[in-house]
Symmetry: C2
Subunit: 197 residues, 2 copies
């Protein structure tokens, strides 16, 4: 196997990259300066060497704790639960949340063999502590998909035993969108969750 | 900059990879086994270390000559001229061509500052040799775009001075397509190039 075929094969393992895209990417890299190849290789090695899940929240980090868990200025009374680590960034970019996070590492999906034991639920419960613990609220920010919803319902059942408020993100009309393109279920949720102006 | 941000930045340099795709790829790699990261890094290093243009035809290779130029069983009398190295594979996969290749490394595109001197035209002419040289035919397989067509016309002018037959790929209806979806220019070309059944 030639080096180019080898690279094409590795690129093909990436999500959303088929045979033609892998070939196009490989030839783009081959045609460009060798520095680009090496820089990408070094950045991959750096991630392999340094990045690991934060022992507290499960987000990826390259220090003992992630930058959020290690920041005493964050609100220690709220934990926002997300399915995947990259969703932490989506919420952080919104710029309105100053609490902590907890990464489940997936969603309940029995067909894929993912049950409660595959998710970081025990670690979440441990963070709540007993009565008088610091955490007052858990925000369930799982996705608005069937699996995300099922995961939220399951978590709500688990968390009921603890003295914390359990909330979830509001469902409704996404900002900037036209009503005529919004599905009926979303409109029904938006009506049910309507607020005083 | 964290290792993940660093990797995301490198991935973003790939063609067709925007900010969101780069993030998705980076997190996919972070979440998977570290072996995958290292294998991709090694395959990039291998390409940077080993792959270079074939000194004869300009196709990429990791030996002194590419596998096609180095194969004495290939027809040494025909050279098929393509714009980019990855197009060699497209023609090879068709399984009907047994001659040699020549990679121009682009197409004439004055707006992008690519003139004849930026393409491997001198190297092509050198391969033709004088009268009695081995090459009897040059097939122009540049793309059927405006720039590809202009490049073919320019090459035809250059090659006219040499005792070789200059041909180009037939224009016509792609196999398996419906006439109603074919543009008028293509149909006109297909009519002009019609053949006896």
């Amino acid at each position: 196997m030639s080096p180019i075929e080898n690279l094409t094969g590795e690129l093909r393992k990436l999500p959303g990259v088929g045979a033609k895209t892998a070939l196009r990417l490989a030839y783009h890299l081959v045609k460009g300066p060798k520095d680009n190849l090496r820089r990408l290789a070094r950045s991959l090695d750096l991630v392999a060497d340094r990045v690991h899940p934060c022992p507290t929240c499960g987000n990826y980090c390259d220090a003992d704790l992630c930058s959020i868990c290690g920041d005493p200025a964050r609100d220690q009374e709220v934990i926002c639960v997300v399915e995947e680590a990259y969703e932490v960034g989506a919420i952080e970019r919104a710029g309105r949340y100053g609490g902590l996070f907890h990464v489940l590492g997936g969603r309940l999906s029995p067909l894929d063999g993912i049950g409660p034991d595959e998710l970081a639920i025990g670690a979440l419960v441990k963070r709540l502590g007993g009565a008088g613990g610091p955490v007052k609220e858990v925000i369930l920010a799982t996705n608005a998909s069937v699996e995300g919803e099922a995961t939220a319902v399951y978590l709500e059942g688990v968390l009921r035993a603890y003295p914390v408020r359990v909330t979830r993100l509001a469902r409704g009309i996404p900002v900037g969108s036209d009503l005529e393109y919004i599905d009926g279920t979303t409109i029904a949720e938006a009506l049910a969750g309507r607020r005083e102006m």
